[in-house]
Symmetry: C2
Subunit: 333 residues, 2 copies
């Protein structure tokens, strides 16, 4: 049995979606057990099927607007997120899933589960959509404002293992996000990272990739520092959302549009689905010894179920051990 | 008369679009004169109306794939781009328009026209689309890999004048692109820039803006360093293009889709137009004493005409002098 801890109170909808998503996951995967951390009084009425699901009660949970993650995590060991992560550290569970505030999940993973001693940084790695429908990995998207080339190499090795084991890519290509494709482009750190990745035998380096190619590139992994990655990911998110809104406005603006909509309703639904994060699961916290998945804050039950599926998959494939043996040996581990 | 120099050989289509765009501009604006720099033999057959248009012949022009802009600009004063820019420096014309390779236009503006002595950096500033249809300014998107806070303040002052004079915004709001909205977010340079912009009396500072809000924000100007701005702009471009492609694929994938398309053809055309850069014109080279507009490399005649309109508008509004008087006084100018 694969044991998964769920922060039942994380996310915009609290236990409404996490409990339903957990029950869906239990239905779909016969080899998992779930522990829900959260307010028993609120969870129990929603839990219509408690087969292989248990509840550990705690009334406290992180507010989605929490501004001081470090202080919060340090002073609230009894918050649902912290208890779920502690169960991960203590090996009571094999993986942890939370839709709580991103920085709190990252800081919590770092302070409570603690970093893999073989890795120098913890990073946030979502699976992003692409035109060909195959998910790509992007990291770091927000755990580290700045990263040195050797940190980026560690992350590339981690992502290569994830891409191979979880997404089934034979020899994942790693692209360095940059302002031009030629070698020598970008900041000092990008140039040094290029050199290091090019020399590495642990990954298959593709070279620089411009962000205008991010949805169409043949690369499997996009790598950069957490500041840049965060800016790029949120630009994709905002552009997709704004374009969806504009399309809707234009369609609704005339009778022809509404009529046309009736004919191509299914087509537009498929279009929407192709850019939809809920199909994919959540973002991985990379660099810690336990799989931790950060589901989108606005996840519905289906998206949350997919995040649990992703956690299960990482455990099933023994991902962490595979990453550890793939990482370059450090002189000072 | 407003005199505009056009690099007739810049862009993916060489003089095919620049000559047609110039003739359209001449038709639309009775107060402009255009000088086309380029290959007379290729230009003349396209120039069916040479009223207020003259040609200065030079057979040489920059290749769109030019990899070493600095060396190229230094060693090819007779290239069409360089001659157009030189006419700007010598005050033979009031503004310059080119669809040539971005870095060559920036480097050329810097080396040939030369920086305004009141500004510390040259920057690239496109007008980007938004959900409400009103264009926003974003800078720097690629002239400087790194910028110090005082450089960013100069750029914000320049953009404020452009937004007010050219886009007609009463009191343009300047947003700093960052990974979170609260003060204190981002890299050291972002935090220092925040403090400086907040204290400035020359601009109206809005605070930090996340890139997911870039198409919907109430800000009029988005400011950041050239590395980040380039990554963000190209992400918008790539996401919009990929989504357009996916929408087309989905519509074409079934009979219902094609039928629906016939009903909402006009709606989809308007949708496309809302994200279309050719409606807007080109990107400004900020920080030099002559308006220089970099049109998109793939500009058609209509887009190129709009770039000329923008150049005309900057001259008509006496933009450069207004910027100079708005800039903070420097101790060492």
């Amino acid at each position: 049995m694969i044991k998964i801890a769920v922060d039942a109170m994380g996310g915009d909808f609290l236990c409404d979606t996490t409990v339903k998503g957990s029950m869906q996951a239990i239905q779909e995967f016969k080899d998992i057990e779930i522990t829900l951390y959260g307010d028993e009084e609120k969870i129990k009425p929603l839990l219509t099927n408690s087969e292989r699901i248990k509840v550990v009660h705690t009334p406290k949970y992180v507010d989605m607007g929490e501004h001081d993650p470090v202080s919060y995590i340090r002073h609230n060991p009894d918050a649902s997120l912290c208890m779920a992560l502690k169960a991960g550290r203590e090996k009571e569970v094999d993986a942890v899933v939370s839709a709580g505030p991103t920085q709190c999940v990252i800081v919590g993973a770092h302070l409570i589960v603690r970093k893999l001693k073989q890795m120098r940084r913890v990073a946030l790695c979502p699976i992003i959509p692409s035109v060909d429908g195959r998910g790509r990995l992007m990291l770091d998207v927000g755990a580290n404002i700045e990263l040195r080339p050797e940190h980026i190499l560690d992350l590339a090795v981690f992502a290569t293992t994830v891409s191979h084991e979880i997404l089934g890519v034979d020899k994942p290509k790693v692209g360095l996000l940059n302002i031009g494709t030629e070698k020598g482009k970008g900041r000092q750190v990008d140039q040094e990272t290029y050199d290091l990745l090019e020399q590495s035998s642990e990954i298959s380096f593709y070279g620089n990739v411009e962000t205008k190619e991010i949805l169409t590139s043949e690369c499997d992994i996009f790598i950069t520092d957490g500041f840049t990655g965060n800016m790029v990911m949120k630009t994709m998110e905002g552009t997709a959302k704004a374009m969806g809104k504009m399309l809707e406005e234009e369609i609704k603006s005339s009778f022809g549009g509404i009529l046309g909509y009736l004919f191509m309703k299914k087509n537009l639904k498929r279009f929407k689905k192709r850019m939809d994060a809920s199909e994919i699961g959540g973002a991985m916290i990379v660099g810690i010894p336990v799989p931790v998945i950060k589901a989108h804050g606005s996840s519905d039950a289906y998206a949350f179920k997919n995040a649990i599926r992703q956690a299960r998959s990482m455990v099933e494939k023994d991902l962490i051990n595979k990453v550890v043996s793939a990482l370059p040996k450090k002189e000072n581990a």
